[in-house]
Symmetry: D2
Subunit: 89 residues, 4 copies
């Protein structure tokens, strides 16, 4: 995938993480730092949703419509794996 919106959001997340570093160096209150880290998680979740959306509407549709059964199986089990992993982090 190549998605300028996703790249832009990741750049902003990178800046956000840099801001959290600065807070810790400046001795900010722990709870404020934890809230900023939760905001980074939320921003990453938004990126994951955009990527998954793209993936479902492109790769997954192509794979399922193809006659290549092995590819179809693989693509579907990747989705199930990602869903399971999503709940572990």
């Amino acid at each position: 995938m190549q998605n300028p919106d996703v790249v832009q959001r990741l750049k902003s997340i990178e800046g956000h993480v840099r801001g959290v570093e600065k807070m810790v160096e400046d001795g900010a209150y722990c709870i404020d730092v934890l809230h900023q880290i939760q905001a980074v998680h939320a921003a990453l979740n938004k990126v994951s949703t955009l990527i998954l959306d793209d993936h479902l509407n492109n790769c997954v549709v192509t794979a399922i419509r193809s006659e290549d059964l092995a590819k179809r199986e693989r693509v579907l089990s990747e989705i199930a794996d990602i869903f399971e992993a999503a709940k572990k982090v």
Copy 2:
């Protein structure tokens, strides 16, 4: 809080996010990008745990042992809030 281990880990997370940007720009496979994003979530969770640990053993102990009831209440309800928020991201 000022914790060099936490700062170091955040710097490494910042680099990790930059790596994910590069993957997206290079057109990497969506599922591989999603797995890298999940690794960033896991690294951020580790940082949160370190910060909370520090917080519990310092601010929370001090607050609870003080006679300032309002402060004690505030500190305990912040912990409950962070716990609840942790499940939402």
Copy 3:
């Protein structure tokens, strides 16, 4: 869907929740109760994964291979929604 394995697991989760009720009534230690609740979450996650797997391999494949574009769109956006919601609970 009708899946006897899923029904069996849900029955066992129901019994697990009843066990947690009993713990609370008997005045068990809070942390032990919280760990049992986390075990219930994990068991529910396993059930969700089984259901999603079934869904991907049946409804989703059928929808994508059909010529009904509206249905295809709906099925894909349902998956993206479930993935997003999974991270919020």
Copy 4:
């Protein structure tokens, strides 16, 4: 802990899980079942928050104000563990 509100909520969660079993037996649409399971997760989270709140305001305060250092350490590390585990389910 013995908390009638918590017991009542757990009874209602038990009924909710039984409802999900019934949906699966009746062949409900997978996505609807998944949404109901997510509602059960949310209800369990609410219960965990109530229990943790109770725990923080009772056991944790008592432990920290006592002179028993080992107990204090144990209670604080239990909170950190529960927080970490909360993000894994």
